[in-house]
């Protein structure tokens, strides 16, 4: 009962993360029901694939050359924050605590998956650290096995040239100490601060 075009749409939708065949069908039928939905979505998708590229400086998403953060002269050029993926920038920006610039590595080291230093944008990061008058590198890779190993690798590379810092691990704000898992609590103790 699916026409070839709907079938194709369902197949494409089902490739998205978190969407199974059933959800894909439901979304497809939803798009068919409203005459304006599908063209609007199609136009948005077309615009994204045509106009969005990677910022040549930091490799976050950008339109027309450099990304808004790299082209903003008010951002602190001495502070550089390394993240795994562009999606990590948004939450850090939302804190309003960071006024420096970013560098997207494009993943984390994982020999099992064949991801070596050459596969990440590490050479580009070193180039920026050496050339741009950077004073501090903030490493904001994920606190996973791969993210931690990547952080250690980067720290070894740039140590002695600039200050290297790592995002702290600790207790979630508003939560109880008694409910924290032991690993997080141990990190929080190691990273405790003077009051």
């Amino acid at each position: 009962m699916l026409t070839p075009s709907i079938e194709r749409l369902v197949t494409e939708l089902a490739r998205l993360p978190g969407i199974g065949p059933r959800s894909a069908q439901r979304l497809a039928f939803h798009l068919m029901r409203d005459a304006e939905r599908a063209p609007a979505l199609a136009a948005a998708l077309a615009a994204v694939s045509e106009r969005v590229s990677l910022c040549p400086e930091c490799f976050a998403f950008a339109e027309d050359g450099r990304c808004p953060i790299c082209s903003d002269p008010r951002r602190d050029a001495t502070l550089l924050c390394a993240v795994e993926e562009p999606s990590a920038i948004l939450p850090i920006e939302a804190t309003n605590e960071f006024r420096g610039r970013y560098h997207v590595l494009g993943g984390a080291l994982s020999p099992i998956d064949g991801i070596d230093p050459e596969d990440l944008r590490i050479a580009e990061l070193l180039g920026r650290v050496e050339g741009d008058g950077v004073a501090e590198l903030v490493i904001a890779t994920n606190p996973t096995m791969s993210g931690e190993a990547t952080a250690l690798y980067l720290a070894d590379l740039v140590r002695g040239r600039v200050r290297v810092t790592r995002l702290a691990s600790g207790l979630p704000v508003g939560a109880d100490v008694e409910h924290a898992d032991e690993l997080t609590l141990a990190r929080a103790l190691l990273g405790r601060r003077e009051l």
Binding site: D116, A149, D156
Partner: protein, 355 residues
């Protein structure tokens, strides 16, 4: 499950003996209890084997608790479908959240592997005990194994000339940090366990002077202080790089440790008779219960067909040991052994699955 279409059993607080002929389904009862506590069978890795022939699915419900507070745990399984886990009527998605690692100690006839098996079997029985005894041990061990797999993958790639060996450093740092935690916990636990093991083995008629200790793959680990374990492991990993690249695997670290099980100078792992090894495995299990009981409710002991292998005095000693200290379930096909157990205060539970 297995041979059971439907059964409901209730177990007393102390010692109980399941008596029935061979093939009556006694072991399946122990297996069902294990399944409802940890989600996997001690006998088979394949869930399909557990479903009764001709049935579509299995279900086990277990009311377990301490001090009158019972909690209903349920597990359902059908081949090819995801496992269903419930606790107190609520569906639980993650096995890690649902399982109760410290609730049981299981002795199947192949538990002898904890004494005479390969080093991996002895490490596993020590790790199981530590996972139950120490919060965070399972996470540290899991992280260590993950870092180990990453370093091994990198060693293979370096050997194949696909990438530079400079990439090894961060993985060695992670391995050293987590490996030191694993090693420190194992050392602490065996130090606690060893005198209890010695007392238990002596009680069971296995003689005095027994001991367990970690045999580390890095000799310095035996003497170095806890806060030096990390740097010692880091140095050992660094020193082995060339050899490890050639072998494409990590040749030192807690994943290569063994557990010494002996009496005096005698290495029971290699030189012990079958009988000595059986007693040592039982004493290790009892010592494990003693150790866990100091900080948490005593784990339930499930012991499959253990009485028939022991001579009368040792059988009596084991029954005496099991008559106190918590709940224990034994199986036997031998009416005389069951009578002896009853004499020691065990409740008799006849078992016979309908054919």
């Amino acid at each position: 499950m297995r041979c059971w279409r439907r059964a409901a059993l209730e177990f007393p607080d102390g010692l109980a003996v399941l008596i029935g002929p061979n093939g009556a389904g006694k072991t399946s009862v122990l297996e069902a209890i294990t399944l409802a506590c940890v989600g996997v069978s001690p006998r088979t890795a394949s869930g399909g084997d557990l479903v009764r022939a001709g049935a579509e699915a299995l279900w086990v419900g277990l009311d377990i608790g301490y001090g009158g507070q019972l909690e209903r745990r349920e597990i359902g399984y059908a081949p090819g479908r995801p496992r269903r886990l419930r606790r107190a009527g609520q569906t639980v998605r993650s096995l890690g959240e649902w399982r109760l690692p410290g609730a049981l100690l299981v002795f199947l006839p192949d538990e002898l592997r904890s004494v005479k098996g390969p080093p991996a079997a002895r490490r596993r029985s020590l790790d199981r005990l530590l996972e139950a005894a120490e919060d965070g041990y399972a996470a540290a061990l899991g992280g260590y194994q993950e870092a180990l797999a990453q370093r091994n993958a990198l060693l293979r790639r370096v050997r194949a000339g696909e990438t530079a060996s400079t990439g090894l450093a961060p993985w060695e740092a992670r391995l050293s940090e987590l490996g030191a935690r694993v090693a420190a916990s194992r050392r602490r636990a065996t130090a606690l366990l060893s005198p209890i093991f010695a007392r238990r083995l002596d009680e069971l008629g296995g003689g005095e002077g027994a001991a367990v200790a970690v045999e580390a793959s890095i000799p310095e680990f035996a003497t170095v202080a806890d806060d030096r374990l990390e740097s010692t492991l880091a140095r050992a990993l660094h020193a082995r790089r060339e050899r490890d690249i050639a072998a494409a695997q990590t040749t030192v670290g807690p994943h290569r440790d063994d557990l010494w099980v002996g009496r005096g100078q005698r290495d029971l792992r290699r030189l012990g008779s079958q009988g000595e090894q059986r007693l040592a495995a039982l004493a290790l299990l009892l010592a494990g219960r003693d150790m866990l009981s100091t900080t948490a409710p005593a784990p339930v002991m499930l012991m499959d067909d253990v009485l028939s292998e022991l001579d009368p005095p040792r059988r009596a000693a084991l029954l005496r040991a099991l008559a106190t200290g918590g709940q224990a379930l034994l199986t036997t096909a031998d009416p005389l052994a069951a009578a002896e157990a009853e004499h020691c205060g065990a409740t008799r539970i006849p078992v016979q699955a309908a054919a």
